[in-house]
C-alpha cells in the first residue's frame, strides 16, 4: 500500500525508460505507437500503466524485452535496466540498444525480467505439459538438472496456489481452468526470481472472483520476493488496488505520471480527469448519468497536431493546444503532466 511504503529511493531503481519511441512503418504510413515515453520502475513497488486500446501501453512493455512485433522497432530512446548484485554493485544495461536475439538480451529475458501475458490460453503451449514448460525455464537460465528443475518447479506451483502441484506438474495446460493457467504463467515468470515482473493485462481475461485471487497472489509474491512490478491494464479499479505509481498513457505519450493517491484524488491532466469521471462506480450517491469523453481515440495515421488529446479536451486553450504538443511539466506535489495548463510550474 502506498501510504505505508516509503517513497522510492534511487538505490531501488530498476528500470529507467527515457524518451522511448517505437514506430511501425506500414503501407498506409508510419504508426508512432510510442512517441516519447518516460517512466521509472523501482524494486518492491508496482507501476501501473493505464490507457485505452491503442495508447501504446503494451508496445512500451514489449519493447523492454525487445518483443515488439514486426515491423515495429525502437527508433529512439533508452531503456536502462539496473542489475543489483549481492554486494551492492549495480550494472546498468541499455536494453534498447540490444538486439532481440542477442545473448545478452536472452540472458535477461525470463531470467531477470519475467513476463505474464493477457491470454493464458494462447501463451502456454498446448502440446507440452506444465512441467515441460516450467522446467525449461529453470534448466535454461539456472543450469539446473532435470530433477532439481522438477523439484523447484513443483515448489513454485505450490507457491502460486496450485492444488496438488505434483500431479498438475504433469498435466497439460488445457486440463486447467483459466485462473490455474494464469497461475502457471506467473509461476513460470517468477521461478528464476526476476528483479522485475512485467504483467500485461494479467487478469483481463478472468472472472472477477478469479481476478481477486490473482491480484492477491501478485501482492503476496511481491511482498516475498521484493520484485518491481510493471502492470499494464485498462481497468482503473485494478490500478487503484495494485499500484504505487501510475502512468496514464494517451496516443503513445505519458499524459500524466504520479503516485496512485494523487492520480485518483488530485488528477491534473484533462484526460485523467475525464477517464475517472467516465467509470461507473459502485457507489449510489452519484448521478445516474455517466460522464463520457466526447469523440473517440483518433486513428493512428491521423494524429492531431499539437496536444494529442486536444480535439477531445474540454479545457483547450484556444490558439495554443492545437499548435503545441506540451512537454512534461513537473508538479509540486510529485509526478508530471503533459498539459499547457501546468506550464507555470517548472519544466522537468
Amino acid at each position: 500500500m502506498p501510504a505505508e511504503r516509503p517513497s522510492p529511493s534511487a538505490d531501488d531503481l530498476l528500470l529507467e525508460v527515457r524518451d522511448l519511441h517505437v514506430h511501425f512503418p506500414l503501407d498506409e504510413g508510419t504508426v508512432r505507437a510510442v512517441a516519447g515515453v518516460d517512466f521509472d520502475v523501482y524494486r518492491n513497488r508496482t507501476l501501473c500503466v493505464v490507457g485505452e486500446s491503442g495508447c501504446g501501453k503494451s508496445v512500451s512493455a514489449q519493447s523492454i524485452l525487445q518483443l515488439v512485433d514486426r515491423p515495429g522497432r525502437i527508433v529512439q530512446g533508452q531503456i536502462r535496466f539496473h542489475q543489483h548484485d549481492a554486494d551492492g554493485g549495480v550494472t546498468v544495461t541499455d536494453l534498447a540498444s540490444l538486439r532481440s536475439s542477442s545473448r545478452a538480451m536472452r540472458s535477461i529475458r525470463g531470467r531477470h525480467i519475467g513476463m505474464v501475458f493477457q491470454e493464458p490460453n494462447t501463451s502456454l503451449s498446448p502440446i507440452h505439459t506444465v512441467g515441460n514448460q516450467i522446467s525449461e525455464v529453470i534448466q535454461l537460465h539456472l543450469g539446473a538438472d532435470e530433477d532439481t528443475a522438477r523439484r523447484q518447479g513443483i515448489e513454485m506451483l505450490e507457491r502460486v496456489g496450485i492444488a496438488r502441484p505434483a500431479q498438475n506438474y504433469d498435466a497439460y495446460t488445457f486440463e486447467l481452468s483459466g485462473g490455474m493457467r494464469q497461475r502457471v504463467m506467473i509461476a513460470m515468470a517468477l521461478v528464476c526470481s526476476p528483479a522485475l515482473l512485467i504483467a500485461d493485462e494479467p487478469t483481463t481475461a478472468l472472472d472477477v472472483t478469479t481476478q481477486a485471487q490473482i491480484m492477491s497472489l501478485l501482492q503476496e509474491l511481491q511482498a516475498d520476493f521484493g520484485m518491481g512490478v510493471m502492470l499494464i491494464t485498462h481497468d482503473l479499479g485494478v490500478v487503484a488496488e495494485m499500484a504505487d505509481d501510475v502512468v496514464v498513457m494517451y496516443l503513445g505519450q505519458v499524459a500524466e505520471y504520479g503516485d496512485v493517491d494523487r492520480i485518483f484524488h488530485a488528477p491534473t491532466h484533462p484526460y485523467t480527469k475525464a477517464l475517472l469521471r467516465s467509470i461507473p462506480n459502485l457507489d449510489f450517491d452519484q448521478d445516474i448519468r455517466l460522464d463520457s469523453i466526447r469523440g473517440m481515440v483518433p486513428d493512428p495515421f491521423h494524429r492531431p497536431a499539437g496536444c494529442p488529446f486536444g480535439p477531445r479536451c474540454d479545457e483547450v486553450i484556444e490558439g495554443r493546444c492545437e499548435a503545441e504538443n506540451p512537454p512534461a511539466f513537473s508538479l509540486a506535489e510529485g509526478g508530471s503532466v503533459r498539459c499547457l495548463h501546468y506550464e507555470e510550474v517548472t519544466l522537468s
Partner: protein, 339 residues
C-alpha cells in the same frame, strides 16, 4: 427508467441441458446443466441485469429467450401488446416469426457480429427488407433515421464495417437491433469489449433509447459496476441456478447470498484509499456437468453448514421483491457495497 406496467416475459422453470457424448458410438455420457430450473419475470420498461461468471448460464438463458436454442424444459410466457400470452418455448419456427421481430439482440463483440462484406445499409436494412418489405429510398430513409438515432451520420450507410471503430460498430449493432421497433432487447455483454470512454457513451445511448422507445432490456453482463449503473433489478446466477434476484439497490447494499457478497467484494473499487476487503473465494467455479451436491456454492462458501451439502435451497422471497436461494439467508449478516 422504472415503471411496472405489467410483465413482459415470464420465465418459468427454464432448463437447458447439453448432452455430453463420448466413447464408442458417441454414447450419452451425461449432461451439462447450463441452465437449471430458472424462473424470473421481466417487467415492461425495466432493465433486468443478469450477472455471473463465465459458464454460469447467463448467455444460455438469453439464447433460450431468443429461441436461438430450444430449451430442454420450462416455459417462456411472452405478453404481447394485445392478446393472450404465448409460450415461446413451445412455438416452432413459423410460430416464432411474429415474436422474433419484438425480441432482438445486441451482441458482445462488435468485430465479429457485423458481416465485413456488407455495407451498413445492408447490415441494418436486411431485417427491414425481410420483415417490412422496404426497398429503395424508403429503406434508405429508415436506415438513415436509425443511424441518426444511435448517433452516426446517415452518409455512413455506404461504408463497410472495417471503416468504423469498436464503439461505432457497436452503435451499428444497436441500430440493427432497433430496426423493427422491438419491445425486448437482450444485450449480451454489449459494452464489455469497449474502452472506458466509449463504454460510457454507449451506456448513455442505451439509456436514452430506452426512454425514447419504451424498451425493455435484459442486460447480460459480468461487470457489476456497469450493471449497477443501468439496471433496475439484478439476477445473479451461479452454475446454472438463479441464486439471488432483487432490485439493484438492495442487491448491492444488502446482498443476501454469500456468493453475491463475494462477487461484490471482488470488484476492484476505483479508489486507492478504500482498497477493498476482498473475500477471496477458494478454488474455481465447478464444472456444470458435475455440480456439487446441495447448494452448488457450498464448497466455496465460508458460511456453509452440513445442510448446505445435502439440500438444494429453493429460491424464496425474503423481503419485498428480494429473492434468494440460501438456507441461511435469515441467519447471516452479509456486507454489501457501502454507499
Amino acid at each position: 427508467m422504472s415503471g411496472t406496467n405489467g410483465t413482459l416475459l415470464s420465465v418459468r422453470n427454464l432448463s437447458m441441458f447439453f448432452p455430453v457424448r463420448g466413447g464408442f458410438l458417441q454414447g450419452h455420457r451425461g449432461e451439462v446443466r447450463a441452465v437449471d430450473d430458472v424462473s424470473f419475470d421481466i417487467q415492461v420498461g425495466e432493465t433486468l441485469g443478469l450477472v455471473g461468471e463465465s459458464g454460469c448460464g447467463k448467455t444460455t438463458t438469453g439464447r433460450c429467450i431468443l429461441r436461438v436454442v430450444a430449451p430442454t424444459a420450462g416455459e417462456l410466457w411472452y405478453h404481447p401488446r394485445e392478446g393472450e400470452p404465448v409460450d415461446l418455448a413451445r412455438l416452432d419456427t413459423a410460430g416464432l416469426l411474429p415474436w422474433r421481430q419484438e425480441i432482438r439482440m445486441i451482441f458482445q463483440d462488435p468485430f465479429a457480429s457485423l458481416n465485413p462484406r456488407l455495407p451498413v445499409l445492408e447490415i441494418v436494412g436486411e431485417c427491414l427488407k425481410v420483415n417490412r418489405g422496404l426497398r429503395g429510398s424508403a429503406l434508405e430513409d429508415r436506415v438513415a433515421e436509425l443511424l441518426g438515432l444511435v448517433g452516426l451520420r446517415p452518409e455512413y450507410m455506404r461504408r463497410y464495417p472495417h471503416a468504423f471503430s469498436g464503439g461505432e460498430r457497436q452503435r451499428i449493432g444497436i441500430a440493427r437491433a432497433l430496426a423493427l421497433n422491438p419491445r425486448l432487447v437482450v444485450a449480451d455483454e454489449a459494452v464489455s469489449a469497449l474502452d472506458v470512454s466509449v463504454r460510457s457513451q454507449t451506456l448513455n445511448l442505451l439509456q436514452d433509447l430506452q426512454n425514447e422507445m419504451q424498451l425493455t432490456y435484459l442486460f447480460i453482463s459480468h461487470d457489476l459496476s456497469v450493471v449497477r449503473y443501468v439496471c433496475n433489478r439484478v439476477a445473479v446466477m451461479y452454475v446454472g441456478k438463479l441464486v439471488e434476484l432483487a432490485d439493484t439497490r438492495s442487491l448491492f447494499l444488502t446482498p443476501q447470498h454469500p456468493y453475491t457478497e463475494a462477487l461484490l467484494s471482488s470488484v476492484p473499487k476505483p479508489d486507492p484509499r478504500i482498497r477493498s476487503q476482498r473475500i477471496v473465494l477458494e478454488g474455481d467455479v465447478p464444472d456444470p456437468a458435475q455440480p456439487p451436491s446441495g447448494c452448488h456454492f457450498h464448497p466455496r462458501c465460508r458460511y456453509a453448514v452440513d445442510r448446505c451439502a445435502e439440500e438444494t435451497p429453493p429460491l424464496r422471497e425474503t423481503a419485498g421483491g428480494h429473492h434468494v436461494a440460501c438456507h441461511l439467508a435469515d441467519e447471516i449478516e452479509l456486507a454489501g457495497i457501502q454507499g
